[in-house]
Symmetry: C2
Subunit: 188 residues, 2 copies
DNA sequence: GTCTATAAAGCGATAGAC
DNA sequence: GTCTATCGCTTTATAGAC
């Protein structure tokens, strides 16, 4: 008899957690089976093309979250300062609750980097461009807006790396505070 | 007869190049053998404990380079502004000539992250602390110095990620320019 | 939709000749 | 110091019962 009946989105969430904790390449199917609590049969039922399919589904889910919770709010905001604060808060909460790992950043290294190069590029382009457009609406020149947006996203991503190296979550929160402060300073 | 007689440092350099291009976990011994041009027998002669030994040797070599070319100059500098410019130039040249990959950052994810956690932490602590001490000598408060140092290293590391995602080297050079400019602005 | 058993390939590591 | 052959194990993926 089946252990548990699963919805695909639940499976994707469980996979994402395993990939964040162990990395994509060292998450073997045996490990995934154990740590996600999903049998091999179910995995290949939901993801017929195997591990690559699982990675794609996970990246899609992360991408959807950022689209809804970060990029759309940035694009539709009228108050630039308010939108900057909302973004830094949403992003800080997101990564703190997800092992301080950005799966798109992880995909810029290793085996699967060519496979997902287009998706990874789109993620960062969408983020930087949405933030840059907001900063421009807040009064910055196109060049300043783009540079400040790119630097902010870079600082967030680098902050995740250093936070994992330090093993100290407050490091990331400090970085996020200063990202917010620096962006707000540009708007005033 | 032996194909080529190799010195260990040459082998380490070749390994580093393979690890940067393919990542540690997807560099199988067959791949290493082919791309580094070192036979299996030689690899286990130089690195008796296998892949972990190879990774340790590569990280040690990177660490030595940063110690000599970045950390020591930062610690011994008297002119803070000059030292900031020297650091950003050295670091920019280094990563541009090495596939825009920081192997220590790569080791914050995946299989071997526990194995090298201490070395990885030491690398980032040494870098941030050496830069913070310099900024403090340049007139910043201890708190401001440490925050600005950490943010600079984070921006560099995040800049590498976005540069790989964009597939465009000039992105990294732009980030490095602005890291330099921001640090110099603090010193004036 | 989930299970177990198994196939085929690749893995890291070792041994022993040269 | 380098080579090749090989061991034992794990890997991804598949097949077929339930």
């Amino acid at each position: 008899m089946p252990r548990t009946l699963l919805e695909r989105p639940d499976a994707v969430r469980a996979l994402a957690s395993v990939f964040r904790r162990r990395g994509f390449e060292s998450s073997s199917l045996s490990v995934i089976q154990q740590e996600a609590g999903i049998g091999r049969g179910s995995l290949y039922h939901f993801f017929p093309d195997g591990k690559t399919d699982m990675a794609r589904a996970v990246l899609d889910q992360v991408s959807d979250w950022f689209e809804d919770e970060v990029f759309v709010p940035l694009r539709s905001a009228t108050d630039a300062a308010e939108a900057v604060s909302a973004m830094t808060k949403a992003v800080a909460d997101y990564f703190v609750s997800r092992e301080n790992v950005c799966l798109f950043a992880a995909m810029t290294l290793g085996e699967e980097k060519e496979t997902f190069a287009a998706e990874v590029k789109a993620y960062f382009v969408d983020w930087v461009d949405a933030l840059a457009a907001l900063l421009q609406r807040g009064g910055l020149t196109p060049e300043d807006a783009h540079e400040n947006a790119l630097d902010a996203v870079a600082m967030i991503q680098g902050g995740l790396i250093i936070t994992r190296a330090y093993g100290d979550e407050s490091t990331f929160l400090g970085v996020m505070e200063r990202v917010e402060r620096r962006l707000l300073a540009q708007l005033s």
